[in-house]
Symmetry: C2
Subunit: 328 residues, 2 copies
Protein backbone atom coordinates (compact mmCIF):
# COMPACT_ATOMS: atom_id res chain seq x y z
CA UNK A 1 0.00 0.00 0.00
CA UNK A 2 2.89 2.37 0.83
CA UNK A 3 4.01 2.70 -2.77
CA UNK A 4 0.52 2.90 -4.05
CA UNK A 5 -0.34 5.89 -1.83
CA UNK A 6 2.68 7.85 -3.10
CA UNK A 7 1.45 7.40 -6.66
CA UNK A 8 -2.07 8.62 -6.01
CA UNK A 9 -3.62 12.08 -6.27
CA UNK A 10 -3.66 13.50 -2.74
CA UNK A 11 -5.05 17.03 -2.43
CA UNK A 12 -5.48 19.26 0.58
CA UNK A 13 -8.24 21.73 -0.23
CA UNK A 14 -6.98 24.39 2.17
CA UNK A 15 -3.97 25.20 4.28
CA UNK A 16 -2.75 28.48 5.76
CA UNK A 17 0.86 28.03 6.83
CA UNK A 18 3.85 30.23 7.42
CA UNK A 19 5.57 28.33 4.66
CA UNK A 20 9.17 27.20 4.85
CA UNK A 21 11.41 24.46 3.51
CA UNK A 22 10.55 22.06 6.33
CA UNK A 23 6.81 22.31 5.63
CA UNK A 24 7.32 21.77 1.89
CA UNK A 25 9.55 18.75 2.56
CA UNK A 26 6.90 17.24 4.80
CA UNK A 27 4.30 17.62 2.01
CA UNK A 28 6.74 16.24 -0.54
CA UNK A 29 7.74 13.27 1.56
CA UNK A 30 4.10 12.71 2.47
CA UNK A 31 3.09 12.22 -1.14
CA UNK A 32 0.87 15.30 -1.31
CA UNK A 33 0.01 16.19 -4.91
CA UNK A 34 -1.47 19.64 -4.41
CA UNK A 35 -2.41 22.14 -1.74
CA UNK A 36 -4.79 25.07 -2.02
CA UNK A 37 -2.84 27.70 -0.08
CA UNK A 38 -4.47 30.74 1.50
CA UNK A 39 -2.67 33.95 0.62
CA UNK A 40 -4.75 36.54 2.49
CA UNK A 41 -7.67 37.22 4.81
CA UNK A 42 -8.02 40.95 5.45
CA UNK A 43 -5.28 42.27 3.19
CA UNK A 44 -6.13 45.03 0.72
CA UNK A 45 -5.33 45.05 -2.99
CA UNK A 46 -1.72 46.15 -2.75
CA UNK A 47 -0.92 43.86 0.17
CA UNK A 48 -2.43 40.94 -1.75
CA UNK A 49 -0.30 41.59 -4.81
CA UNK A 50 2.71 41.76 -2.46
CA UNK A 51 1.78 38.35 -1.06
CA UNK A 52 1.83 36.96 -4.60
CA UNK A 53 5.26 38.48 -5.17
CA UNK A 54 6.48 36.82 -1.98
CA UNK A 55 5.16 33.48 -3.24
CA UNK A 56 7.02 33.90 -6.50
CA UNK A 57 10.21 34.16 -4.48
CA UNK A 58 9.24 31.05 -2.48
CA UNK A 59 8.67 29.14 -5.74
CA UNK A 60 12.14 30.17 -6.95
CA UNK A 61 13.78 29.06 -3.71
CA UNK A 62 12.00 25.69 -3.57
CA UNK A 63 11.56 24.83 -7.23
CA UNK A 64 13.03 21.36 -6.74
CA UNK A 65 9.99 20.23 -4.72
CA UNK A 66 7.13 22.69 -5.28
CA UNK A 67 5.56 24.56 -8.18
CA UNK A 68 2.70 26.95 -8.88
CA UNK A 69 -0.39 25.34 -10.44
CA UNK A 70 -2.78 27.44 -12.49
CA UNK A 71 -4.66 24.50 -14.02
CA UNK A 72 -5.55 20.90 -13.27
CA UNK A 73 -3.13 20.03 -16.04
CA UNK A 74 -0.40 21.82 -14.05
CA UNK A 75 -1.34 19.66 -11.05
CA UNK A 76 -0.99 16.44 -13.06
CA UNK A 77 2.28 17.68 -14.56
CA UNK A 78 3.59 18.50 -11.08
CA UNK A 79 2.77 14.97 -9.96
CA UNK A 80 4.78 13.58 -12.89
CA UNK A 81 7.66 15.92 -12.06
CA UNK A 82 7.50 14.89 -8.40
CA UNK A 83 6.66 18.38 -7.18
CA UNK A 84 3.96 19.57 -4.82
CA UNK A 85 1.53 21.84 -6.69
CA UNK A 86 0.44 25.03 -4.93
CA UNK A 87 -2.90 26.62 -5.86
CA UNK A 88 -3.57 30.23 -4.83
CA UNK A 89 -6.67 31.26 -2.92
CA UNK A 90 -8.04 34.25 -0.98
CA UNK A 91 -10.14 33.66 2.14
CA UNK A 92 -11.91 36.97 1.69
CA UNK A 93 -12.95 39.43 -0.99
CA UNK A 94 -10.99 42.26 0.66
CA UNK A 95 -8.34 42.19 -2.11
CA UNK A 96 -10.84 43.22 -4.79
CA UNK A 97 -12.50 45.87 -2.61
CA UNK A 98 -15.24 47.32 -4.88
CA UNK A 99 -13.45 46.63 -8.16
CA UNK A 100 -14.69 43.72 -10.27
CA UNK A 101 -11.90 44.32 -12.81
CA UNK A 102 -9.28 43.25 -10.26
CA UNK A 103 -10.49 39.65 -10.57
CA UNK A 104 -8.90 39.42 -14.02
CA UNK A 105 -5.61 40.79 -12.63
CA UNK A 106 -5.55 38.33 -9.75
CA UNK A 107 -6.60 35.48 -12.05
CA UNK A 108 -3.66 36.30 -14.32
CA UNK A 109 -1.40 35.99 -11.27
CA UNK A 110 -2.82 32.55 -10.50
CA UNK A 111 -5.80 33.12 -8.21
CA UNK A 112 -8.09 30.07 -8.43
CA UNK A 113 -10.20 30.22 -5.24
CA UNK A 114 -11.85 33.19 -3.56
CA UNK A 115 -14.22 33.31 -0.60
CA UNK A 116 -17.02 35.83 -0.87
CA UNK A 117 -16.81 36.55 2.86
CA UNK A 118 -14.67 35.81 5.90
CA UNK A 119 -16.92 35.57 8.99
CA UNK A 120 -18.10 39.18 8.61
CA UNK A 121 -20.24 40.83 5.97
CA UNK A 122 -18.53 42.05 2.81
CA UNK A 123 -19.84 44.01 -0.18
CA UNK A 124 -20.51 40.57 -1.75
CA UNK A 125 -22.49 38.75 0.91
CA UNK A 126 -23.02 37.80 4.53
CA UNK A 127 -20.58 36.06 6.86
CA UNK A 128 -21.26 33.11 9.14
CA UNK A 129 -20.74 35.25 12.27
CA UNK A 130 -23.31 37.93 11.33
CA UNK A 131 -26.73 37.97 13.01
CA UNK A 132 -28.37 38.92 9.71
CA UNK A 133 -26.99 37.32 6.59
CA UNK A 134 -27.94 39.43 3.56
CA UNK A 135 -27.39 36.61 1.11
CA UNK A 136 -25.48 37.46 -2.07
CA UNK A 137 -25.60 41.20 -2.83
CA UNK A 138 -25.87 43.05 -6.15
CA UNK A 139 -22.06 43.23 -6.38
CA UNK A 140 -21.82 39.62 -5.22
CA UNK A 141 -23.89 38.43 -8.20
CA UNK A 142 -21.65 40.31 -10.61
CA UNK A 143 -18.52 38.91 -8.98
CA UNK A 144 -19.81 35.33 -9.11
CA UNK A 145 -20.52 35.75 -12.83
CA UNK A 146 -17.00 37.08 -13.41
CA UNK A 147 -15.41 34.31 -11.32
CA UNK A 148 -17.37 31.76 -13.35
CA UNK A 149 -16.15 33.35 -16.57
CA UNK A 150 -12.51 33.42 -15.50
CA UNK A 151 -12.35 30.09 -13.72
CA UNK A 152 -11.98 31.14 -10.10
CA UNK A 153 -13.78 28.81 -7.70
CA UNK A 154 -16.45 30.48 -5.54
CA UNK A 155 -15.54 29.37 -2.01
CA UNK A 156 -18.29 29.61 0.62
CA UNK A 157 -16.30 28.68 3.72
CA UNK A 158 -17.01 31.36 6.35
CA UNK A 159 -20.21 32.48 4.54
CA UNK A 160 -23.64 32.61 6.14
CA UNK A 161 -26.40 30.18 5.24
CA UNK A 162 -28.35 32.57 3.00
CA UNK A 163 -25.19 33.54 1.17
CA UNK A 164 -24.35 29.87 0.63
CA UNK A 165 -27.80 29.10 -0.75
CA UNK A 166 -27.82 32.19 -2.98
CA UNK A 167 -24.34 31.50 -4.36
CA UNK A 168 -25.22 27.87 -5.09
CA UNK A 169 -28.27 29.16 -6.97
CA UNK A 170 -26.60 32.04 -8.84
CA UNK A 171 -23.32 30.37 -9.83
CA UNK A 172 -23.32 28.83 -13.28
CA UNK A 173 -20.42 26.59 -12.20
CA UNK A 174 -20.29 24.31 -9.14
CA UNK A 175 -19.18 26.06 -5.97
CA UNK A 176 -17.01 24.84 -3.09
CA UNK A 177 -16.90 25.01 0.66
CA UNK A 178 -13.19 24.35 0.79
CA UNK A 179 -12.84 23.83 4.55
CA UNK A 180 -15.69 23.13 6.96
CA UNK A 181 -17.59 20.21 8.44
CA UNK A 182 -21.26 19.32 8.66
CA UNK A 183 -23.14 20.84 11.59
CA UNK A 184 -24.39 17.32 12.41
CA UNK A 185 -20.78 16.48 13.37
CA UNK A 186 -20.11 19.57 15.46
CA UNK A 187 -22.52 22.46 15.82
CA UNK A 188 -20.38 25.56 15.31
CA UNK A 189 -21.13 28.75 13.37
CA UNK A 190 -18.58 27.74 10.76
CA UNK A 191 -19.98 24.29 10.09
CA UNK A 192 -22.65 23.62 7.50
CA UNK A 193 -26.32 22.66 7.76
CA UNK A 194 -27.64 19.59 5.97
CA UNK A 195 -29.90 21.77 3.81
CA UNK A 196 -26.90 23.64 2.41
CA UNK A 197 -24.88 20.44 1.89
CA UNK A 198 -27.75 18.89 -0.05
CA UNK A 199 -28.26 21.95 -2.28
CA UNK A 200 -24.50 22.17 -2.79
CA UNK A 201 -24.29 18.57 -3.99
CA UNK A 202 -27.36 18.93 -6.23
CA UNK A 203 -25.45 21.55 -8.21
CA UNK A 204 -22.28 19.41 -8.25
CA UNK A 205 -20.68 21.47 -5.52
CA UNK A 206 -17.94 20.33 -3.19
CA UNK A 207 -16.97 20.30 0.47
CA UNK A 208 -13.45 19.90 1.83
CA UNK A 209 -13.61 18.52 5.39
CA UNK A 210 -11.73 20.43 8.03
CA UNK A 211 -9.26 19.36 10.72
CA UNK A 212 -9.31 22.70 12.47
CA UNK A 213 -10.16 21.93 16.11
CA UNK A 214 -13.08 24.38 16.37
CA UNK A 215 -14.81 22.47 13.55
CA UNK A 216 -14.35 19.04 15.17
CA UNK A 217 -16.45 16.99 17.55
CA UNK A 218 -14.62 17.28 20.91
CA UNK A 219 -12.24 19.82 19.34
CA UNK A 220 -8.57 18.75 19.54
CA UNK A 221 -9.62 15.55 21.30
CA UNK A 222 -11.58 14.42 18.26
CA UNK A 223 -10.79 10.80 17.39
CA UNK A 224 -9.87 9.65 13.93
CA UNK A 225 -12.68 7.11 14.20
CA UNK A 226 -15.25 9.85 14.83
CA UNK A 227 -13.89 11.84 11.92
CA UNK A 228 -14.16 8.84 9.59
CA UNK A 229 -17.65 8.02 10.87
CA UNK A 230 -18.66 11.58 9.97
CA UNK A 231 -17.31 11.08 6.46
CA UNK A 232 -19.30 7.89 6.04
CA UNK A 233 -22.47 9.62 7.24
CA UNK A 234 -21.83 12.50 4.84
CA UNK A 235 -21.30 10.08 1.94
CA UNK A 236 -24.77 8.73 2.65
CA UNK A 237 -26.21 12.25 2.73
CA UNK A 238 -24.70 13.81 -0.42
CA UNK A 239 -22.70 11.14 -2.27
CA UNK A 240 -18.97 10.49 -2.22
CA UNK A 241 -18.09 12.55 -5.32
CA UNK A 242 -18.74 15.84 -3.54
CA UNK A 243 -16.37 15.20 -0.64
CA UNK A 244 -12.68 15.81 -0.06
CA UNK A 245 -10.35 17.18 2.59
CA UNK A 246 -9.62 20.86 3.26
CA UNK A 247 -7.59 20.54 6.42
CA UNK A 248 -7.39 24.24 7.36
CA UNK A 249 -3.94 23.40 8.70
CA UNK A 250 -2.23 26.52 10.08
CA UNK A 251 1.41 25.69 10.76
CA UNK A 252 4.34 27.68 12.05
CA UNK A 253 2.49 30.85 13.04
CA UNK A 254 2.91 32.73 16.32
CA UNK A 255 -0.22 33.02 18.48
CA UNK A 256 -0.71 36.64 17.41
CA UNK A 257 -1.76 35.42 13.98
CA UNK A 258 -4.87 33.62 15.18
CA UNK A 259 -6.00 36.87 16.82
CA UNK A 260 -5.25 38.75 13.64
CA UNK A 261 -7.30 36.27 11.61
CA UNK A 262 -10.24 36.92 13.93
CA UNK A 263 -9.89 40.67 14.36
CA UNK A 264 -8.15 41.96 11.27
CA UNK A 265 -8.48 45.71 11.66
CA UNK A 266 -12.28 45.71 11.86
CA UNK A 267 -12.54 46.15 15.62
CA UNK A 268 -10.56 47.96 18.28
CA UNK A 269 -11.80 45.40 20.82
CA UNK A 270 -11.04 41.67 20.91
CA UNK A 271 -13.20 39.20 19.05
CA UNK A 272 -12.56 35.60 20.08
CA UNK A 273 -14.09 34.04 16.99
CA UNK A 274 -15.07 30.44 17.56
CA UNK A 275 -13.40 30.19 20.96
CA UNK A 276 -16.04 30.16 23.68
CA UNK A 277 -13.44 30.22 26.47
CA UNK A 278 -11.59 33.27 25.06
CA UNK A 279 -8.54 31.28 24.00
CA UNK A 280 -6.10 33.68 22.35
CA UNK A 281 -3.73 30.93 21.20
CA UNK A 282 -3.88 28.45 18.36
CA UNK A 283 -6.10 25.54 19.35
CA UNK A 284 -4.48 22.14 19.81
CA UNK A 285 -4.62 19.93 16.73
CA UNK A 286 -5.76 16.29 16.99
CA UNK A 287 -2.67 14.14 17.53
CA UNK A 288 -3.41 12.30 14.29
CA UNK A 289 -3.28 15.47 12.22
CA UNK A 290 -0.51 17.89 13.08
CA UNK A 291 1.18 18.18 9.67
CA UNK A 292 0.29 17.90 5.98
CA UNK A 293 1.70 14.41 5.60
CA UNK A 294 -0.75 13.19 8.26
CA UNK A 295 -3.39 13.01 5.52
CA UNK A 296 -2.18 9.44 5.21
CA UNK A 297 -3.59 8.69 8.67
CA UNK A 298 -7.02 9.64 7.39
CA UNK A 299 -6.63 7.49 4.30
CA UNK A 300 -5.63 4.47 6.35
CA UNK A 301 -8.42 4.98 8.84
CA UNK A 302 -11.04 5.29 6.10
CA UNK A 303 -9.95 1.91 4.75
CA UNK A 304 -9.90 0.35 8.22
CA UNK A 305 -13.39 1.75 8.79
CA UNK A 306 -14.85 0.09 5.76
CA UNK A 307 -14.25 2.22 2.68
CA UNK A 308 -12.59 0.56 -0.28
CA UNK A 309 -9.16 1.89 -1.26
CA UNK A 310 -10.73 3.38 -4.39
CA UNK A 311 -13.34 5.18 -2.30
CA UNK A 312 -10.72 6.42 0.14
CA UNK A 313 -8.53 7.75 -2.68
CA UNK A 314 -11.51 9.64 -4.06
CA UNK A 315 -11.88 11.42 -0.73
CA UNK A 316 -8.13 12.03 -0.51
CA UNK A 317 -7.82 13.87 -3.81
CA UNK A 318 -9.41 12.44 -6.93
CA UNK A 319 -12.73 14.14 -6.14
CA UNK A 320 -11.03 17.50 -5.64
CA UNK A 321 -9.19 17.11 -8.95
CA UNK A 322 -12.39 16.25 -10.80
CA UNK A 323 -14.18 19.18 -9.20
CA UNK A 324 -11.39 21.58 -10.11
CA UNK A 325 -11.56 20.39 -13.72
CA UNK A 326 -14.90 22.23 -13.96
CA UNK A 327 -13.02 25.47 -13.48
CA UNK A 328 -9.40 25.37 -14.59
CA UNK B 1 -34.85 91.12 3.82
CA UNK B 2 -31.90 91.14 1.38
CA UNK B 3 -29.38 92.29 3.97
CA UNK B 4 -30.84 90.08 6.64
CA UNK B 5 -30.48 86.87 4.55
CA UNK B 6 -26.80 87.56 3.95
CA UNK B 7 -26.23 87.75 7.69
CA UNK B 8 -27.95 84.48 8.49
CA UNK B 9 -26.59 80.95 8.80
CA UNK B 10 -27.30 79.25 5.48
CA UNK B 11 -26.05 75.67 5.19
CA UNK B 12 -26.25 73.19 2.35
CA UNK B 13 -26.01 69.72 3.86
CA UNK B 14 -24.62 68.09 0.73
CA UNK B 15 -23.19 69.04 -2.64
CA UNK B 16 -21.01 67.11 -5.07
CA UNK B 17 -19.53 69.59 -7.54
CA UNK B 18 -16.54 69.73 -9.81
CA UNK B 19 -15.44 72.75 -7.83
CA UNK B 20 -14.01 75.87 -9.42
CA UNK B 21 -13.76 79.60 -8.77
CA UNK B 22 -17.11 80.31 -10.41
CA UNK B 23 -18.95 77.86 -8.14
CA UNK B 24 -17.28 79.27 -5.02
CA UNK B 25 -18.14 82.84 -6.07
CA UNK B 26 -21.77 81.87 -6.56
CA UNK B 27 -21.87 80.42 -3.03
CA UNK B 28 -20.07 83.47 -1.64
CA UNK B 29 -22.32 85.98 -3.41
CA UNK B 30 -25.35 83.88 -2.45
CA UNK B 31 -24.65 84.25 1.26
CA UNK B 32 -23.98 80.55 1.84
CA UNK B 33 -22.32 79.99 5.23
CA UNK B 34 -21.25 76.36 4.84
CA UNK B 35 -21.45 73.40 2.47
CA UNK B 36 -20.93 69.73 3.26
CA UNK B 37 -18.92 68.68 0.22
CA UNK B 38 -18.70 65.07 -0.96
CA UNK B 39 -15.12 63.97 -1.59
CA UNK B 40 -15.62 60.37 -2.76
CA UNK B 41 -18.06 57.58 -3.59
CA UNK B 42 -16.17 54.46 -4.65
CA UNK B 43 -12.60 55.63 -4.15
CA UNK B 44 -10.26 53.47 -2.11
CA UNK B 45 -8.06 54.62 0.77
CA UNK B 46 -5.23 56.07 -1.28
CA UNK B 47 -7.53 57.77 -3.78
CA UNK B 48 -9.45 59.32 -0.89
CA UNK B 49 -6.31 60.75 0.70
CA UNK B 50 -5.41 62.14 -2.74
CA UNK B 51 -8.79 63.84 -2.93
CA UNK B 52 -8.05 65.54 0.39
CA UNK B 53 -4.69 66.71 -0.95
CA UNK B 54 -6.45 68.16 -3.98
CA UNK B 55 -8.82 70.02 -1.67
CA UNK B 56 -5.91 71.49 0.26
CA UNK B 57 -4.68 72.99 -3.01
CA UNK B 58 -8.18 74.33 -3.74
CA UNK B 59 -8.27 75.97 -0.30
CA UNK B 60 -4.93 77.65 -0.99
CA UNK B 61 -6.07 78.96 -4.36
CA UNK B 62 -9.40 80.31 -3.07
CA UNK B 63 -8.55 81.33 0.47
CA UNK B 64 -10.10 84.78 0.01
CA UNK B 65 -13.63 83.32 -0.18
CA UNK B 66 -13.57 79.73 1.16
CA UNK B 67 -12.03 77.85 4.07
CA UNK B 68 -11.97 74.35 5.54
CA UNK B 69 -14.22 73.86 8.58
CA UNK B 70 -13.42 71.11 11.08
CA UNK B 71 -15.78 72.38 13.79
CA UNK B 72 -18.97 74.37 14.19
CA UNK B 73 -16.76 77.07 15.67
CA UNK B 74 -14.83 77.11 12.37
CA UNK B 75 -18.16 77.61 10.57
CA UNK B 76 -19.07 80.60 12.76
CA UNK B 77 -15.58 82.02 12.36
CA UNK B 78 -15.82 81.62 8.57
CA UNK B 79 -19.09 83.55 8.60
CA UNK B 80 -17.41 86.38 10.52
CA UNK B 81 -14.49 86.35 8.06
CA UNK B 82 -16.90 86.36 5.10
CA UNK B 83 -15.75 83.00 3.80
CA UNK B 84 -17.75 79.96 2.75
CA UNK B 85 -16.95 77.04 5.07
CA UNK B 86 -16.38 73.64 3.45
CA UNK B 87 -17.03 70.48 5.50
CA UNK B 88 -15.61 67.16 4.23
CA UNK B 89 -17.73 64.06 3.78
CA UNK B 90 -17.56 60.61 2.17
CA UNK B 91 -20.66 59.16 0.52
CA UNK B 92 -19.44 55.61 1.12
CA UNK B 93 -17.29 53.60 3.48
CA UNK B 94 -15.01 52.44 0.65
CA UNK B 95 -12.14 54.68 1.87
CA UNK B 96 -11.84 52.78 5.15
CA UNK B 97 -12.17 49.34 3.52
CA UNK B 98 -11.90 46.93 6.50
CA UNK B 99 -9.75 49.17 8.67
CA UNK B 100 -11.42 50.94 11.60
CA UNK B 101 -8.16 52.72 12.44
CA UNK B 102 -8.36 54.73 9.21
CA UNK B 103 -11.26 56.71 10.69
CA UNK B 104 -8.87 58.51 13.02
CA UNK B 105 -6.58 59.33 10.07
CA UNK B 106 -9.41 60.72 7.98
CA UNK B 107 -10.85 62.57 10.97
CA UNK B 108 -7.48 64.25 11.48
CA UNK B 109 -7.65 65.39 7.84
CA UNK B 110 -11.08 66.91 8.43
CA UNK B 111 -13.61 64.17 7.68
CA UNK B 112 -16.89 65.04 9.46
CA UNK B 113 -19.55 63.00 7.60
CA UNK B 114 -19.43 59.42 6.34
CA UNK B 115 -22.18 57.30 4.80
CA UNK B 116 -22.18 53.66 5.86
CA UNK B 117 -23.27 52.59 2.37
CA UNK B 118 -23.79 53.96 -1.11
CA UNK B 119 -26.76 52.16 -2.75
CA UNK B 120 -25.00 48.78 -2.53
CA UNK B 121 -24.08 46.64 0.46
CA UNK B 122 -20.80 47.39 2.22
CA UNK B 123 -19.01 45.63 5.07
CA UNK B 124 -20.90 48.04 7.36
CA UNK B 125 -24.50 47.67 6.26
CA UNK B 126 -27.09 47.39 3.51
CA UNK B 127 -27.75 49.85 0.69
CA UNK B 128 -31.10 51.19 -0.48
CA UNK B 129 -30.81 49.36 -3.83
CA UNK B 130 -30.28 45.88 -2.33
CA UNK B 131 -33.13 43.38 -2.25
CA UNK B 132 -32.04 42.21 1.19
CA UNK B 133 -30.80 44.83 3.59
CA UNK B 134 -28.67 43.20 6.28
CA UNK B 135 -29.00 46.10 8.69
CA UNK B 136 -25.85 47.24 10.45
CA UNK B 137 -23.18 44.52 10.49
CA UNK B 138 -20.64 43.55 13.18
CA UNK B 139 -18.07 45.88 11.63
CA UNK B 140 -20.76 48.53 11.15
CA UNK B 141 -21.46 48.63 14.90
CA UNK B 142 -17.77 49.09 15.65
CA UNK B 143 -17.46 51.85 13.05
CA UNK B 144 -20.49 53.72 14.41
CA UNK B 145 -18.98 53.61 17.90
CA UNK B 146 -15.68 54.97 16.58
CA UNK B 147 -17.41 57.69 14.52
CA UNK B 148 -19.34 58.70 17.65
CA UNK B 149 -16.10 58.85 19.62
CA UNK B 150 -14.27 60.95 17.03
CA UNK B 151 -17.12 63.23 16.00
CA UNK B 152 -17.85 62.04 12.47
CA UNK B 153 -21.56 62.20 11.62
CA UNK B 154 -23.14 58.86 10.64
CA UNK B 155 -24.88 59.65 7.34
CA UNK B 156 -27.64 57.25 6.25
CA UNK B 157 -28.38 58.67 2.82
CA UNK B 158 -28.30 55.73 0.36
CA UNK B 159 -28.75 53.16 3.18
CA UNK B 160 -31.54 50.59 3.30
CA UNK B 161 -34.40 50.80 5.78
CA UNK B 162 -33.05 48.16 8.19
CA UNK B 163 -29.64 49.78 8.19
CA UNK B 164 -31.22 53.18 8.93
CA UNK B 165 -33.23 51.78 11.85
CA UNK B 166 -30.24 49.85 13.24
CA UNK B 167 -27.91 52.84 12.99
CA UNK B 168 -30.45 55.14 14.68
CA UNK B 169 -30.67 52.54 17.47
CA UNK B 170 -26.93 51.79 17.84
CA UNK B 171 -25.52 55.31 17.51
CA UNK B 172 -24.94 57.08 20.81
CA UNK B 173 -25.06 60.41 18.96
CA UNK B 174 -27.82 61.66 16.65
CA UNK B 175 -27.45 60.51 13.04
CA UNK B 176 -28.19 62.28 9.77
CA UNK B 177 -29.72 61.57 6.42
CA UNK B 178 -27.89 64.41 4.73
CA UNK B 179 -29.71 64.36 1.39
CA UNK B 180 -33.03 62.64 0.70
CA UNK B 181 -36.75 63.35 0.81
CA UNK B 182 -39.70 61.62 2.44
CA UNK B 183 -41.22 58.76 0.45
CA UNK B 184 -44.62 60.44 0.93
CA UNK B 185 -43.35 63.20 -1.39
CA UNK B 186 -41.91 60.95 -4.07
CA UNK B 187 -41.72 57.18 -3.83
CA UNK B 188 -38.17 56.31 -4.88
CA UNK B 189 -35.72 53.80 -3.43
CA UNK B 190 -33.59 56.66 -2.11
CA UNK B 191 -36.38 58.47 -0.29
CA UNK B 192 -37.30 57.72 3.31
CA UNK B 193 -40.29 56.05 4.91
CA UNK B 194 -42.28 57.81 7.62
CA UNK B 195 -41.29 55.12 10.14
CA UNK B 196 -37.59 55.89 9.66
CA UNK B 197 -38.15 59.66 9.78
CA UNK B 198 -40.04 59.34 13.06
CA UNK B 199 -37.39 57.12 14.69
CA UNK B 200 -34.68 59.46 13.38
CA UNK B 201 -36.32 62.50 14.98
CA UNK B 202 -36.98 60.66 18.27
CA UNK B 203 -33.21 60.28 18.66
CA UNK B 204 -32.60 63.91 17.63
CA UNK B 205 -31.50 62.89 14.16
CA UNK B 206 -31.62 65.10 11.09
CA UNK B 207 -32.69 65.08 7.45
CA UNK B 208 -31.38 67.41 4.74
CA UNK B 209 -33.97 67.70 1.97
CA UNK B 210 -32.78 67.01 -1.54
CA UNK B 211 -33.16 68.89 -4.79
CA UNK B 212 -31.84 66.04 -6.91
CA UNK B 213 -34.51 65.44 -9.57
CA UNK B 214 -34.87 61.69 -8.92
CA UNK B 215 -35.88 62.52 -5.33
CA UNK B 216 -38.53 65.09 -6.33
CA UNK B 217 -42.22 64.86 -7.10
CA UNK B 218 -42.41 65.23 -10.91
CA UNK B 219 -38.61 65.12 -11.08
CA UNK B 220 -37.11 68.23 -12.71
CA UNK B 221 -40.60 69.66 -13.20
CA UNK B 222 -41.16 69.79 -9.46
CA UNK B 223 -42.60 73.15 -8.41
CA UNK B 224 -41.17 75.21 -5.60
CA UNK B 225 -44.68 75.28 -4.11
CA UNK B 226 -44.82 71.46 -3.99
CA UNK B 227 -41.37 71.34 -2.41
CA UNK B 228 -42.40 73.84 0.27
CA UNK B 229 -45.68 72.01 0.89
CA UNK B 230 -43.64 68.84 1.50
CA UNK B 231 -41.50 70.70 4.04
CA UNK B 232 -44.60 71.90 5.89
CA UNK B 233 -45.99 68.35 5.98
CA UNK B 234 -42.68 67.04 7.26
CA UNK B 235 -42.58 69.70 9.99
CA UNK B 236 -45.92 68.37 11.19
CA UNK B 237 -44.60 64.80 11.14
CA UNK B 238 -41.22 65.16 12.91
CA UNK B 239 -40.86 68.76 14.10
CA UNK B 240 -38.99 71.62 12.49
CA UNK B 241 -35.71 71.21 14.44
CA UNK B 242 -34.82 68.01 12.57
CA UNK B 243 -35.06 69.47 9.08
CA UNK B 244 -32.64 71.29 6.80
CA UNK B 245 -31.54 71.28 3.17
CA UNK B 246 -29.03 68.86 1.60
CA UNK B 247 -29.40 69.84 -2.01
CA UNK B 248 -27.34 67.02 -3.59
CA UNK B 249 -26.33 69.63 -6.18
CA UNK B 250 -23.90 68.16 -8.70
CA UNK B 251 -22.47 70.97 -10.80
CA UNK B 252 -19.96 71.13 -13.62
CA UNK B 253 -19.53 67.40 -14.22
CA UNK B 254 -19.56 65.68 -17.62
CA UNK B 255 -22.30 63.07 -18.14
CA UNK B 256 -19.82 60.24 -17.63
CA UNK B 257 -19.68 61.10 -13.95
CA UNK B 258 -23.31 60.24 -13.26
CA UNK B 259 -22.68 56.80 -14.76
CA UNK B 260 -19.57 56.42 -12.65
CA UNK B 261 -21.51 57.33 -9.51
CA UNK B 262 -23.97 54.56 -10.34
CA UNK B 263 -21.55 51.89 -11.54
CA UNK B 264 -18.23 52.62 -9.86
CA UNK B 265 -16.23 49.50 -10.73
CA UNK B 266 -18.69 47.04 -9.17
CA UNK B 267 -20.27 45.87 -12.42
CA UNK B 268 -19.08 45.33 -15.98
CA UNK B 269 -22.63 45.98 -17.16
CA UNK B 270 -24.58 49.25 -16.92
CA UNK B 271 -26.67 50.04 -13.89
CA UNK B 272 -29.04 52.97 -14.44
CA UNK B 273 -29.60 53.73 -10.77
CA UNK B 274 -32.77 55.67 -10.16
CA UNK B 275 -33.42 56.34 -13.83
CA UNK B 276 -36.32 54.18 -15.02
CA UNK B 277 -35.90 55.31 -18.64
CA UNK B 278 -32.18 54.47 -18.79
CA UNK B 279 -31.08 58.08 -18.89
CA UNK B 280 -27.28 58.14 -18.97
CA UNK B 281 -27.04 61.92 -18.55
CA UNK B 282 -27.44 64.19 -15.56
CA UNK B 283 -31.13 64.76 -14.91
CA UNK B 284 -32.50 68.26 -15.44
CA UNK B 285 -32.62 70.38 -12.27
CA UNK B 286 -35.76 72.31 -11.32
CA UNK B 287 -35.46 75.83 -12.80
CA UNK B 288 -35.64 77.32 -9.29
CA UNK B 289 -32.58 75.36 -8.10
CA UNK B 290 -29.71 75.16 -10.55
CA UNK B 291 -26.93 76.65 -8.39
CA UNK B 292 -25.99 76.93 -4.73
CA UNK B 293 -27.18 80.52 -4.40
CA UNK B 294 -30.68 79.39 -5.38
CA UNK B 295 -31.20 78.32 -1.78
CA UNK B 296 -32.59 81.82 -1.41
CA UNK B 297 -35.52 80.87 -3.66
CA UNK B 298 -36.47 78.17 -1.15
CA UNK B 299 -36.19 80.59 1.76
CA UNK B 300 -38.43 83.13 0.04
CA UNK B 301 -40.98 80.53 -0.97
CA UNK B 302 -41.15 79.10 2.57
CA UNK B 303 -42.04 82.57 3.86
CA UNK B 304 -44.57 83.16 1.08
CA UNK B 305 -46.09 79.77 1.91
CA UNK B 306 -46.70 80.64 5.51
CA UNK B 307 -43.57 79.96 7.56
CA UNK B 308 -42.26 82.80 9.69
CA UNK B 309 -38.84 84.16 8.75
CA UNK B 310 -37.44 82.60 11.92
CA UNK B 311 -38.85 79.21 10.96
CA UNK B 312 -37.53 79.51 7.42
CA UNK B 313 -34.04 80.42 8.65
CA UNK B 314 -34.06 77.35 10.88
CA UNK B 315 -34.67 75.20 7.81
CA UNK B 316 -32.05 77.09 5.80
CA UNK B 317 -29.18 76.49 8.20
CA UNK B 318 -29.67 77.10 11.92
CA UNK B 319 -31.00 73.57 12.43
CA UNK B 320 -28.02 72.06 10.62
CA UNK B 321 -25.62 74.11 12.73
CA UNK B 322 -27.33 73.04 15.97
CA UNK B 323 -27.28 69.41 14.85
CA UNK B 324 -23.59 69.56 13.94
CA UNK B 325 -22.82 70.99 17.39
CA UNK B 326 -23.62 67.52 18.78
CA UNK B 327 -20.59 66.20 16.91
CA UNK B 328 -17.90 68.81 16.25
Amino acid sequence: MEKNYQNQIIIDGLQYCNWNREIFEDLWNGGITAVHATLVYWENTEESFNRINEWNKIFDENNDIICHAKSTNDILQAKKNKKVAIIFGFQNSAPIANDIYLLQNFFNQGLRFMQLTYNNQTPLGGGCFENNDSGVSRFGKEVIEEMNRLGIIVDLSHAGKNTCLDAIKYSSKPVAISHANPKFFHNSLRNIEDEVLIELAKKNGFIGLSLYPYHLKNFGECTLEDFCAMIKKLINLIGIEHIGIGSDLCKNWPNEVVMWMRNGKWTKKIDYGESTNKNINWPKQPIWFTKGSDLKNIFESLVINGLSEDQAYKIMGINWLNFMKNHF
